[in-house]
């Protein structure tokens, strides 16, 4: 079976420029700086003879690096993939591509896979930084694997969505703005709607109970839950995000789906008991997050394939 030629062409063009290598350097440097700063900030709180505190430092550094890696992916992916189809239009090469025997789904899939191959390069380049947190203790290799897997999942889904968004723009500049706007909306829309619902649900000054699943429509929720699922002690920013998810679910009657149930007696909910445990019954938060993001990615991809199909009513 022949490899999709779009993948080879995209990677060849991308790796011929200096920007690809500059991006890898910036990515790894940002993670290394994060690790250094977090380590320095936590160093004073951990005595050399307190092993528990020392492993907590390792966990804190690990989660901080994974969180920053996720944030960097949310910045890099739109920049890398926004021009996927819009760039073909701007270079006026799209027509010559559409009259070949490549199907629209092959063109889009080729663009996504090529972008992911490059993102994989970034992730692999970041592994030495993650390895340092492993050496600090408090982290198992499985934690690193899950952390990397969660970031890779976000990268796959986001790249698919942004390549699809690119088909709706005629210029790279427009596509880039659309892509960053879309990523920003995707990151905040769930928590924003949840927050608005919470404000509207003013039945009690202490408890609000909007549907908790709204908070899972968010790449950070996926990383926080999957990346901390195999906890071995200590906490960090991902654990704090996960705890917040757990609290929201607890307030929602212990369900992801309950529609503004009666307020929960908050004193009976022990937020600390949520740490390190599955967030109650029902699917895991990362499963809901992956499903919701996958539905968005699939819907956008279908629309993108339709948009690229030729012959069309107007020239695309």
């Amino acid at each position: 079976m022949n490899l999709n030629p779009v993948i080879g062409r995209e990677l060849t063009e991308r790796l011929r420029g200096f920007r690809a290598y500059l991006a890898v350097t910036v990515f790894v440097l940002a993670l290394a700086v994060t690790m250094f700063l977090v380590f320095e900030a936590s160093e004073g709180s951990a005595s050399n003879f307190d092993l528990s505190a020392r492993t907590g430092v390792g966990r804190l550094v690990f989660e901080s690096v994974i969180l920053i890696m996720t944030v960097l992916v949310l910045f890099f992916v739109p920049g890398l993939t926004a021009g996927a189809i819009a760039g073909e239009r701007e270079r006026q090469t799209l027509a010559t591509l559409q009259v070949t025997l490549l199907r629209p789904r092959s063109i889009i899939a080729g663009k996504v896979v090529a972008a992911l191959a490059y993102l994989l390069l970034l992730v692999v380049a970041a592994l030495p930084v993650l390895a340092v947190s492993y050496l600090l203790g408090g982290i198992r290799l499985g934690d690193i694997a899950l952390g990397v897997l969660s970031v890779a999942t976000v990268a796959v889904l986001l790249a698919t969505m942004v390549v699809a968004v690119s088909t709706f723009a005629t210029r790279v500049q427009t596509a880039t703005l659309l892509a960053y706007g879309f990523t920003a909306v995707l990151t905040v829309i769930g928590p924003l709607v949840w927050g608005i619902a919470a404000v509207l649900d003013q039945r009690s000054s202490e408890t609000v109970a909007p549907p908790a699943w709204l908070l899972t429509i968010n790449p950070l929720a996926l990383v926080a839950d999957l990346g901390t699922g195999n906890r071995s002690g200590g906490d960090g920013p991902l654990t704090w995000i996960r705890q917040y998810l757990g609290e929201a679910k607890a307030r929602n009657g212990g369900s992801w789906w309950a529609w503004f149930p009666e307020p929960v007696n908050w004193s009976r909910v022990d937020a600390a008991s949520l740490a390190g445990r599955p967030l109650g019954g029902g699917p895991a938060a990362w499963v809901l997050s992956a499903i919701s993001l996958s539905i968005v990615a699939a819907a956008l991809s279908l629309l993108a394939v339709r948009r690229l199909r030729a012959p069309a009513e107007t020239e695309r």
Binding site: R9, E13, T93, T96, T100, L101, A312, E315
Partner: protein, 314 residues
């Protein structure tokens, strides 16, 4: 003059703008009442087009005539609004892949992948047309030799001149050995030498059995190269056939310029060979005005084009 020519054309009884079909002619392209509308703009209006297999067919028209829109419909990029279209026996709307296997398309805008090497560029399109990988080395080498870019095989595309990129684009259209080439302004931006070389290349490809449809604003080149032409304006087909056929249809086939021994000269319009022979006999018989020189004034494609178009830009 132009209005008169058009009025003469419109009043000519039963003037069929389509080329005449001889017995056994098969058509590479058949368009019947082909139309394309964008909102209120009628880009192509009831186009009747027949392109014989094995011909070099020129499509001429001012900017906005509908040439590129017609080419886009042939190349399976645009869906016609009404009418029917057949390309090599297949409908581009319902059987686009069958058409794409047999058609090579060169749009009027020159878009290439700058960061690829020349050979990589052709290999990419060979792969996109599912040409077996083992054929690539010979195919790419042969195509680069055909378009005189073999010395540039390892060069990056962005290092090529415009003319070289145009030739590379022509090579790209040939990568899957199509039967029909649709070339939208292939000579655009080329210097005179490059245009001559392109013309020779297209003749060579035609001699290999390929049907070629080409549009151009350089009418002299089309006249030299094309076996038939079609003239469009404002989305409509105004005339089709050889330049001589079109001139005959307009009733302004040719003129004969005569110079007499007394130094005077006259111009005589003639409709056909019989009329020209009769004129020459009459002039030769007139001993009072001996002939010194006879010359048939060539009324070419440019004259035809200017005669029947109004310069309407949509």
């Amino acid at each position: 003059m132009t209005t008169e020519a058009i009025e003469r054309a419109d009043s000519t009884p039963e003037r069929d703008p389509r080329p005449e079909a001889s017995a056994g002619t098969s058509w590479a392209v058949e368009a019947t009442a082909l139309s394309k509308q964008y909102g209120t703009l009628q880009a192509v209006d009831e186009l009747e087009l027949r392109v014989p297999v094995g011909s070099i067919f020129g499509l001429i028209g001012p900017n906005g005539a509908g040439k590129s829109t017609t080419f886009s419909m042939l190349a399976t990029l645009l869906r016609p609004t009404t009418g029917s279209l057949s390309v090599l026996g297949h409908d581009p709307t319902s059987e686009p892949r069958e058409v794409r296997k047999r058609l090579g398309y060169m749009p009027d805008v020159l878009g290439v992948y700058d960061n690829l090497r020349v050979d990589e560029y052709l290999q990419f399109f060979a792969a996109s047309y599912h040409v077996p990988r083992k054929q690539w080395p010979g195919l790419v080498g042969g195509l680069l030799e055909l378009v005189d870019l073999d010395v540039k095989a390892s060069a990056l595309v962005n290092s090529l001149s415009r003319g070289m990129k145009q030739r590379l684009s022509l090579a790209r259209t040939l990568v899957h050995d199509p039967d029909l080439l649709v070339l939208d302004e292939p000579a655009s931006g080329l210097d005179p030498r490059a245009r001559v070389e392109l013309r020779e290349t297209l003749r060579h490809l035609n001699a290999l059995g390929k049907t070629i449809i080409v549009s151009s604003h350089i009418l002299a080149e089309l006249e030299e190269m094309c076996t038939a032409v079609a003239i469009m304006e404002a989305g409509k087909l105004l005339a089709s056939g050889t330049p001589r056929q079109i001139l005959d249809q307009l009733g302004a086939a040719r003129t004969v310029v005569v110079r007499f021994a007394d130094g005077s000269s006259e111009t005589f319009p003639v409709a056909d060979d019989a009329e020209q022979v009769a004129l020459l006999r009459r002039l030769a018989a007139d001993e009072a005005r001996p002939l010194l020189e006879l010359r048939e004034e060539h009324r070419g494609l440019e004259h035809v084009f200017l005669s029947i178009t109004q310069g309407i830009v949509q």
